[in-house]
Amino acid sequence: MLALLFLVLGLGLIAWVTARMRAARFGGTGTARAHSLPAYHGWYVGLWTALPALIFLGIWATVSPGLITQAVLATPAAADLPAFGMERSAILSEARALANGSIQTAFNPQANALAPAYAQAITKYGVIGTILALVLAFAGGAYAFTRIKPDFRARTRVERLVMAALLVASLVAILTTVGIVASLLFESVRFFSMVSPVEFLFGTKWSPPASNMPASSGAFGAIPLFWGTIFIGAIIAMLVAIPLGLMSAIYLTQYAKPSTRSWMKPILEILAGVPTVVYGYFAALTVAPALRDFAVSIGISGASSESALAAGIVMGVMIIPFVSSMADDSIAAVPQAMRDGSLAMGATPSETIRKVLLPAALPGVVGGVLLAVSRAIGETMIVVMAAGLAANMTANPFASVTTVTTQIVQLLTGDQEFDSAKTLAAFALGLVLFVITLLLNIVALRVVKKYREAYE
């Protein structure tokens, strides 16, 4: 297969060189000049040679295993296979591995009987695929080669293909998103056929049953998870990130000398590049125990070694650069004339910031904060490591709470039945999280956009 791939690419290269040489002989000057440069003719023919064959190979690679299996099943040796289930597919995959030569002996004797049939079918379809690919390559190349004439618009055609390639690239991301949303929706619907949406969205007790138990033996009230998520991501983390981020943005834009700013801002941005798992163990191993000891020493009961506060503070630190850079951008976007106007009235720099710059930059700052919240509530590693698993409905920041993301991890790790209510609950939680962050992002982007228009 790999050899065939290189063969097709090699043919494309040869076609490129030949076509280019031929086009180079067109010559001519002024209006008699060829429409496109020789290189474009080369690309045109080369692409016609390689592309259809490559696309065919891609399709063939997905279709041929099915054809091979069917051919094997049609042989008499396959007649005494078990009709359904795991054993049948285990035997088939062993036989395939034998035929490939990736294993020497099979565990199941029936596989040995099927192996020659497999080998035969693999060879047969391999030859068919090779011939078809080469035919396509030559046919495409020949068709394109006959079309190159001085007035042929090879350049336009190649440009069109470039555009198509760019379009495909951007569609990949969009289609992936659509696929993810579809899978979330599909699995959530299955979950809601077992557990009522009302209980899920408004229930206050969260104790998923073991995976071999029926859904009714547990409780799927997700309110404690939503509360934990909001408590950590939207309250504690923001209490840390908003003041610190905003003040650092004000310092950097209004007070810092260019030389100070030039080293301070990059370092602040490095904070955004620290892997979240590192923040996670920092929160779990350093911050959380210190906070517990502190809480115990001042006599707060219910202090746990995993606490909402530890996770929230570290998460807040993590998103400082995020808030700070959004605030930085929106403060910098306030016209200098506004600042001068205030200073010329005899306002001090801090009065100018409080009374003119911040109000004018507020929509941008709010947008940045909303984006930061949506990031914080989707954040996983820190809360998994530092927040705990107990689904508590508590406002005590020293107690352990759990979040949506933590529970998703919890529900999906370990041995799980894929169709149990417990596993499917993860998709429903994922869907809720997705909808919330999507709404936050939409609102935030609207606010930011509206604000930007105001100064143009």
């Binding site: 506004m338 001068d340 106007g341 200073l343 010329a344 009235m345 001090t348």
Partner: protein, 257 residues
């Protein structure tokens, strides 16, 4: 000369301004008094705006700017370390080239300065300051019914008069205007010029302008700047009808600039 300093509101002696190593203003001496409107004219980049901004130390906001020489307000050196720049700017107000009302209501725009300087002890006092300032700026009748509307929703000319009202509200002694009409249409320009006439005598007014007709219309004294030098300074009528310097004459007659 001594007598002139006596009644001068602001004096500049041998003032040079540098941006980094570049000399933007070279050894300028000038006096500004209460009775006369002083116009600074000259081609683009001649340093007239730079010099204007040294008079209330707005150049302090430019990190690379450096001022040499002496500038006084009522005989007090404004670059002395004892001078509070916040107080200085309350006494020497400024109106900018482009109207720059704050994104607040008309009322709040005018009340901004009095509020930060604590000029009004209660709402009634503030109402009086706002009304008087808007009246002096000739804007009261146009906006008295919509003081809570945003200042940025006014027309360009109204915005500029709002900025003048804002500057007047802190009761300054000097008002600096940096090409206040360059972003306005002729009708709005005429209103601002009329306003300058009315304000003359109550405040020492310095106006930078590109427009020589405007300088001739609104000012009694004119200073002609060229390449960072003060070429000629005197009675406006003298400068425009009988300039002593060849360069001034060339500029006035449109030979360059």
């Amino acid at each position: 000369m001594e007598q002139m300093t006596e009644k001068s509101k602001m004096t500049a002696r041998n003032v040079s301004v540098f941006y980094g190593d570049k000399r933007a203003i070279d050894n300028v001496s000038i006096d500004v008094d209460m009775e006369n409107v002083t116009a600074f004219i000259g081609p683009s980049g001649c340093g007239k705006s730079t010099f204007l901004r040294t008079l209330n130390r707005m150049n302090d906001t430019v990190a690379s700017a450096r001022v040499e020489g002496e500038i006084t307000l009522d005989g007090e050196d404004i670059y002395a370390s004892s001078m509070d720049v916040v107080q200085l700017r309350a006494r020497v107000g400024m109106v900018f080239q482009k109207p720059n009302p704050f994104p607040k209501s008309i009322y709040e725009n005018v009340a901004y300065g009095p509020r930060i300087h604590g000029l009004a002890s209660n709402k009634a006092d503030m109402d009086v300051i706002v009304e008087q300032s808007l009246r002096k700026a000739g804007l009261w009748d146009e906006v008295k019914d919509r003081l809570s509307d945003s200042g940025t929703a006014l027309s360009g000319g109204q915005q500029q008069r709002l900025c003048i009202a804002r500057a007047i509200a802190v009761d300054p002694e000097v008002i600096l205007m940096d090409e206040p009409c360059s972003a306005l249409d002729p009708i709005a320009t005429a209103k601002i010029e009329e306003l300058i006439h009315e304000l003359r005598g109550r405040y020492a007014i310095v106006i930078v302008t590109h427009n020589m007709q405007q300088a001739a219309r609104v000012s009694q004294r004119t200073a002609f700047f060229h390449l960072g030098n003060l070429v000629e300074y005197g009675e406006t009528s003298e400068i425009f009808t009988n300039p002593r310097q060849e360069r001034t004459k060339d500029y006035i007659t449109g030979r360059y600039g």
